[in-house]
């Protein structure tokens, strides 16, 4: 399996945020992590990509303790697309994507080809010389996915990758990531969307992972009312599907 968490606890400023969380992501799986605001999802994600250290528990990627690896090596195994976007510095899209090669040696032309292929794959073919800050929200996210692609990892972490996007771009990004076939753990807000895209999903509440499994089994009205404090009713509603061509 790619990613395995067992008994992971995280404290921020000595306040416990995550308690003994456990989850796993297997090869090629798309796994969603859902839960109400402040339940510790992002904290858990940041701990997986080493922005934070766990106070207890073990996180392994490809069988090795992530926090015991060199920084470079863990970045060769795990790529991240987060909400946070680079500041107002004038990096071009090509430069942003090339940053994905930071954990590797420079390879000049080979790197340029990797970046070009990644940009083509996310549909930003003629965007390499545009200034990143001038892109639309959807284009920015696609550029960041391209950066994750050139990082050539077998695990991808997405922390609310679609929260600033309209519904069409949300679907596009999620489709894109699904089609990559890379083991993915994604924090998603929209439960219907999570259910539609993931193979399995985990529900977090108050710092604990409460349940995990196929969305149909996990997202019961009982669990949703317990976790979110809302009544969930299944009924016919508008369902959005991406049109194949623009």
């Amino acid at each position: 399996m790619r990613l395995d968490l067992s008994g992971v606890s995280v404290r921020l400023d000595d306040r416990p945020i995550v308690h003994e969380a456990g989850l796993r992501v297997d090869d090629g799986e798309f796994v969603a992590l859902v839960g109400p605001n402040g339940c510790g999802k992002s904290t858990l994600m940041r701990t997986i990509y080493r922005a934070l250290r766990p106070s207890a528990g073990l996180i392994t990627v490809d069988g090795d303790d992530v926090h015991g690896l060199s920084w470079r090596e863990s970045a060769r195994r795990t790529a991240v697309v987060a909400q946070e976007t680079p500041a107002e510095l004038d990096f071009t899209v090509g430069e942003v994507v090339l940053m994905g090669r930071t954990p590797y040696r420079l390879e000049g032309q080979a790197d340029a080809e990797r970046c070009a292929r990644a940009l083509e794959r996310v549909g930003l073919t003629d965007g390499a010389d545009r200034v990143y800050a001038t892109l639309s929200g959807g284009e920015k996210q696609r550029a960041l996915i391209a950066r994750a692609l050139v990082q050539e990892t077998r695990l991808l972490l997405l922390d609310e990758p679609t929260s600033h996007l309209d519904v069409r771009h949300q679907l596009e990004i999620l489709h894109l990531v699904r089609e990559l076939g890379v083991a993915t753990l994604a924090v998603l807000h929209d439960l219907n969307q999570a259910a539609a895209f993931c193979d399995r999903l985990y529900v977090m509440s108050a710092g604990r992972v409460l349940a995990g499994g196929p969305p149909g089994q996990v997202l019961t009205p009982e669990l949703i009312s317990e976790v979110y404090g809302v009544r969930a009713v299944r009924r016919t509603q508008l369902v959005f599907e991406r049109l194949e061509e623009r």
Partner: protein
């Protein structure tokens, strides 16, 4: 959307077509800036109360390096002025201008704040305090070396204090670094203002004031090696780290996810820039604005990639301070202007223009 990926390798170069163009432009720009650096230095060596014709300055320098190479067409006085005073001063201007500008560029990436400059971390105020003590207590100002040593000691003291305040379990964060730096800058300013106020001699006070606003007037050959080595070493290290600097300026979490040991990098950059500022301020006093505006100008020319920003910043800073020093020596001759006066006259209009041109607001809140 489902693009034909088999075509991708063939297209790779065409997608990055702009890259080759950018590289060529970058090469031309570096060449042009190098010419500007040499030309401004040449000018600086010939201009002054006793003018020396441009060809003669070459002759004097060539004669010193390889005696007898060119026929002597100059007087001994001219030779002494060029070799003993103007040339070291001009070279120091290049080193200080390049160094302050590079430090500014690095600090702007380190604390992710476009308003960061070499004086943000309180290091220069510490250096000034050391210098003021020496000048007022009148230990010795001959040769400038005790003054430099005291200024450097002051900057080390400030470095230690800023680090002690800014770190928590060995890690420094940008916001704590800025707060600690600003607080200590005020403390040291208060201290040297107090010393100045207590000073009996008006002449010493005036000398201090002049030094505080930056002057290259004390340049001697023996002052050059230390800043030269510090700048060359620092710049070489930073160029090797250019990808990590890029990642860091894209944000802490991004840098971590790209495999950068952010805490160690920040610490290294903090110590490196502090030492560099200490060395530079010790030779020339506190010259404002160079470290603030030159990196911005460089980014306007070549974008945000530190592989291009750092060399362009260094060359631009060197040429800029050379021209500033020429202006400072000539505009109000025989009186010299303090360098910060001239840099502010250039710097403030440029900065206001920059402020209007870009929305700095969002970026400023980061720190």
């Amino acid at each position: 959307m489902t693009g034909d990926t088999r075509r991708a390798p063939a297209q790779a170069t065409s997608i990055f077509k702009g890259r080759a163009g950018t590289e060529r432009r970058f090469g031309l720009l570096v060449g042009a800036l190098a010419v500007a650096v040499v030309a401004s230095t040449w000018l600086a060596v010939s201009i002054g109360a006793i003018p020396v014709a441009l060809p003669q300055t070459w002759g004097i320098v060539a004669d010193r390096l390889v005696p007898g190479l060119v026929p002597r067409t100059w007087t001994p006085v001219q030779e002494q002025i060029v070799w003993d005073f103007r040339l070291p001063r001009a070279l120091l201007a290049l080193l200080v201008g390049a160094g302050l500008a590079v430090v500014g560029a690095v600090l702007q990436a380190l604390v992710r704040n476009p308003l960061a400059d070499p004086f943000l971390l309180g290091i220069s105020s510490g250096a000034s305090f050391g210098a003021v003590l020496v000048l007022i207590l009148g230990i010795s100002t001959l040769g400038g070396l005790p003054l430099s040593a005291a200024a450097f000691a002051g900057s080390l003291l400030a470095l230690g204090l800023v680090y002690a305040l800014a770190q928590r379990s060995g890690r420094i964060t940008p916001s704590r670094l800025v707060l600690a730096g600003v607080a200590l800058a005020y403390l040291f300013q208060a201290l040297y203002s107090f010393v100045l106020q207590q000073a009996q001699s008006g002449r010493a006070a005036q000398q201090v004031l002049f030094w505080l606003m930056g002057s290259l007037g004390g340049a001697r050959w023996e002052m050059l090696p230390l800043p030269a080595v510090a700048l060359a070493g620092g710049l070489a290290y930073l160029l090797l780290q250019h990808r990590r600097l890029n990642a860091l300026s894209a944000g802490e979490e991004t840098a971590v996810s790209l495999g950068v040991n952010v805490h160690r990098l920040r610490l290294t950059l903090f110590v490196l820039t502090s030492l560099l500022v200490g060395v530079l301020v010790a030779t020339s006093g506190a010259i404002a604005f160079v470290g603030l505006i030159v990196p911005h100008a460089a980014r306007l020319l070549v974008g945000a990639d530190h592989r291009r920003v750092l060399p362009v910043t260094a060359l631009l800073g060197a040429a800029f301070l050379q021209l500033v020093d020429i202006a400072a020596r000539t505009v109000n001759a025989p009186q010299e202007l303090a360098l910060s006066i001239v840099t502010a006259l250039f710097g403030v209009p440029f900065f206001l223009w920059l402020l209007r041109r870009r929305s700095v607001d969002r970026a400023v809140t980061v720190a």
